[in-house]
Amino acid sequence: MPSPTVVIVDTGVGNLFSIARAVHTVGGSPVISADPRSLETADRVVIPGVGSYASTMSYFAECGMDGALRTYADTGRPLLGICLGMQLLVTEGHEEGRTCGLGVIVGEAVPMPSITSSGSPVRIPHIGWSRVTPLSEGRSSDWMGADGADIDVYFAHSYTVICPDSQVIAATFRYGGHELAAAVRVGSVLGVQFHPERSGPAGLRLLTSFVQSPDGT
């Protein structure tokens, strides 16, 4: 089988190198690109996760990447948003005011709860390895590459995604006593709040599934 072309969208800031290396390691051909036309021939697309919501969306708007990503999502080819990239998939972000997201999944990116139910403060950002539990109902494929088992993966974020349709939530994790979205999924569009490219063998298994399986999930 030829190596699938995985376009990693250049968000203008941050660590794209690690994602490219991880994609290469699991058998994909990574291409870092800010050119919307590169999505036309991509087998897979990754939206990486460092930067601010508003500045990334305006960067996308400047180069036409926002429209290209929506068009790509409509094709049914696999799209993976990582961390901020997952948050950009939803309708709206609440970081430094409100910003429209890509809107391929209905939801909002909001600040993480800063206190527990008993009123104790929660350390934010959430930085570290947390256990992620896949929610399997109605989803036959094993997108985490873990046979439905929990995995420990690396998170680094201050915002979280909430969705009105709970069926969109593909996995959860616990932090500060709250159960939050670790992954969202609609069809071939997958968003993960954690960093699979920083999550050791468990993360690489997820990326293998994304890169190698016929539908990316």
Partner: protein, 285 residues
Amino acid sequence: MGVEAPHLGDSGDVTQQTGIPAASVPALAVRDRRVRMIARLEVKGTNLIKGIHLEGLRRVGSPVEFARRYYDLGIDEILFMDVVASLYGRNQLLEIVRETAEHVFAPITVGGGVRSVADFEALLRSGADKVALNTEATKNPLLLKELALRFGSQSVVLSIEALRVAPGKWETLTDNGRERTGRDVIAWVQEAADLGVGEALITSIDKEGTGSGFDVDLMREVTECVNIPVIASGGMGSVHDFVALASTADVNGIAIADALHYNRVTLDEIRATARGMGLDVRSLA
């Protein structure tokens, strides 16, 4: 808009889930907390080195090789600190980070000599996930705010070298413990947290390289005064030191340097002992 997440309810008090008997660590049970094991690799030029009290440097080996070995053994995070951090050495540091990130799929934090947005971004682009600032931050605290806005709080780490100057009082030092700043450690970490720093790396100069245990008082004070994650560094000599700190101070990460480099402790040993004490560490499955 008031969009709710119907299935994402609040679990109630976390004390019920940690499995730690409330009586043993009452102050800590309110937060679900998993302590990261972080390998601290001090770099000079192309060498991994180790000193005592941040002085008296000795060559240990290749930083890239050590980082890879720790990754294979299940380290939770790699921390590179460039102890020279001259302009001349920047390219070597970037190359070390790049080579490491090629094979290490775990978070990498890098500090030492970061003076500008450009320095910060160059490290991110080479494969760093987080970048730590120390000296420059004390001179120009607003740089922290600029970095947090641009790259997100989660990538900005404040590194503090803390020297005990009186009982319950620590002063911030810079330049690997050579320069005094007059800044109180507690006041400084609070100021930096307000500026948007996402994590604090606290190194005890008194304990650094001694293997005589952590400055638990310092780590307790810092963790109690801020609500960002805190990494403790300096003093790890045995598995006991790790467990003693993790069970008495609300730290999120513990940095281990020569105890790991010289095989005085192993990651498996730390994991097993920590679990035996009811502490939560990452599962490698």
